[in-house]
């Protein structure tokens, strides 16, 4: 466990760095000079700290969602954006926006998470019907399903002039995070903690339905719990900062290579690494083209693709 402590220290370091990166001058010096009352303090509390918190919460939650899905689907390519969960959540938000434009946030969230849950359950049902269980079929089916839902969402968004909302949900971007506009992410954090409490059940589910039943556990119950967690986390992340893709794919695979799939052991690392990678990508995105920003989704795409290529080429047989 000392290694994990080291990881936490590294994350804290990244977080501090993240807080002090930006266009306006916020530094220890400027804060002290202004006596903690002036503009720098305000920027710190209103924008910088919320942004860093949002990065950590969203990054860890998405990575953990990937782990849970990979256990439930028993496939290494599963994550919210390869099994239709993310697309379904977007469609859910869109439908609420069209049908009940002034619905309060909890209602929107429930609708989107409910949609995500339904579609992910449908995905699992389709998989059960397929006799050909090649590992590659699983993400293909998921991406197809997501594509169909995305097409419907795009059509609706086009018709009702909501393309901009759809784009916001699709691309993870933390530049708009302010105090009062990210706190929903704590719900995702709570669910991540819940997932940790039930970690053993997800490990068991990863060994299959028969194995789970043999140990006297209710397989359907475990799957339902996992799907609820993943659906709500995905919906929360999409509506607060936009979808963060591939993180749930790459991080669980990296951790699995190092530590294996005992979820109880892996989950702290998954959360830590997920948060760390998103933080680092966001910092890099703010630095490379300063004073402009490269959205974190784009940076993440580059980093994650490189990591994924490494995983594929290194352990080809096990991943595919």
């Amino acid at each position: 466990m000392p290694l994990l402590a080291l990881g936490v220290v590294a994350l804290v370091g990244l977080a501090v760095w993240s807080i002090f990166v930006g266009v306006s001058d916020v530094s220890l010096g400027s804060l002290l000079e202004s006596g903690w009352t002036d503009a720098p303090t305000q920027i710190l509390l209103e924008s910088r700290v919320p942004r860093t918190a949002a990065l950590i919460l969203a990054g860890s939650a998405m990575a953990v969602s990937g782990t849970i899905l990979q256990m439930l689907v028993r496939n290494r390519f599963a994550e919210p954006s390869t099994v239709g969960t993310a697309e379904a959540a977007k469609l859910g938000f869109l439908l609420v926006l069209i049908l009940v434009p002034d619905a309060p946030i909890p209602v929107r969230l429930i609708a989107a998470a409910g949609f995500a849950l339904l579609v992910t359950a449908l995905f699992l049902r389709i998989l059960r019907q397929l006799s050909l269980q090649s590992p590659l079929v699983v993400p293909l089916v998921g991406i197809l399903l997501g594509g169909v839902i995305n097409a419907a969402a795009t059509f609706l968004a086009y018709r009702f002039d909501l393309m901009q909302s759809l784009a916001t949900w699709s691309n993870g971007d933390f530049s708009m995070v302010l105090r009062g506009r990210y706190e929903l992410l704590w719900l995702a954090f709570a669910l991540t903690a819940l997932a940790y409490a039930f970690a053993d059940r997800f490990t068991v589910a990863g060994l299959g339905e028969d194995f789970t039943t043999n140990l006297g556990l209710d397989y359907r119950g475990v799957v339902a719990l996992g799907l609820v967690i993943v659906s709500i986390v995905t919906a929360v992340v999409i509506v607060t900062v936009g979808m963060i893709p591939v993180l749930g794919l790459v991080v669980p695979n990296l951790v699995s290579l190092m530590l294996g799939d005992n979820v109880r052991r892996a989950l702290p690392w998954v959360a830590l690494l997920g948060a760390g990678i998103v933080l680092a990508c966001d910092i890099a995105g703010r630095i490379v083209n300063a004073p402009y920003e490269v959205p974190v989704g784009t940076m993440l795409g580059v980093v994650a693709s490189a990591l994924f290529l490494y995983l594929l080429l290194r352990k080809h047989a096990r991943l595919a």
Partner: protein, 252 residues
């Protein structure tokens, strides 16, 4: 004793297991044999609540399998099915520890840890305890699963084709191991076997199935008879006695 009464499993029109009534005695090894599609694995699934029966009942001692709480049953009976792709990357020790789940609900006590260590040692897996399952050979992995079942510490252990994909040495080793567990610890094993000679040599009781029904049961000496085997498999198998064991020459 496992008692099945009028057990039927139907998928639509197809009845895979048909009106099976069966008593599996406590203690010893009971082998289920029969041709492909006889319903052996399905029967095992029904006996162990992995599959719900279309009609009929199963009792394990005083527990009714359909209505007993799953976690209570998990302390009485365990089942190992052949799952060819183990996708999860677990160490042997982690896997064996999960055998204690029905007892400890994931919070391992000192007693649990002792039993995990014992099971690993009993199966001769000490050296491999921290290896990942996906880095082991088929025979080693099979032993790890048996260690897990041993850790689950149930009176009854059901295994679906435990010799699948094992070479001669590992197959014979596995059967000897099962015999040793039964004799040392007084457990009851129910095995689905393909090789009638393994069933003949190692079991106390053989159940023969065909077309979803039990056609014959009894001690190996009664089942390993040419006319009985013809009834089960529809081929002529000469049976010879070698060193006091009845061996069916189904190769010729």
């Amino acid at each position: 004793m496992i008692v099945a009464r009028n057990l039927t499993k139907a998928y639509g029109e197809a009845r895979v297991v048909r009106d099976v009534s069966l008593d599996i005695p406590r203690g010893g090894i009971t082998s289920i044999i029969g041709p492909n599609g006889a319903g052996k694995s399905t029967l095992l699934g029904l006996l162990s609540r992995l599959l719900p029966a279309t009609s009929g009942s199963v009792r394990v001692d005083e527990l009714d399998v359909a209505s007993a709480p799953s976690d209570v049953l998990a302390r009485r009976l365990s089942i190992l099915r052949q799952d060819n792709h183990v996708t999860a990357r677990l160490t042997v020790r982690d896997l064996v520890a999960f055998g204690r789940f029905p007892h400890s609900r994931g919070r391992l006590t000192e007693e649990d840890r002792r039993r995990i260590g014992e099971a690993i040692q009993y199966l001769g897996l000490d050296e491999l305890a921290d290896r990942f399952l996906d880095e082991m050979s088929g025979g080693q992995r099979q032993r790890a699963f048996v260690a897990m079942v041993l850790c689950q510490d149930t009176d009854y252990v059901l295994m679906d084709e435990p010799l699948n994909n094992l070479d001669m040495r590992h197959a014979a080793g596995m059967m000897k191991l099962i015999r040793r567990i039964v004799d040392d610890l007084g457990k009851t094993f129910v095995l689905v076997l393909h090789d009638i000679n393994f069933a003949s040599i190692y079991s106390d009781h053989i159940v023969a199935m065909r077309d979803g029904a039990v056609v014959k049961q009894g001690p190996p000496s009664e089942i390993l008879q040419s006319q009985v085997l013809r009834e089960i498999f529809e081929i002529d198998i000469p049976v010879h006695e070698i060193d006091g064991r009845r061996i069916g020459l189904f190769y010729v």
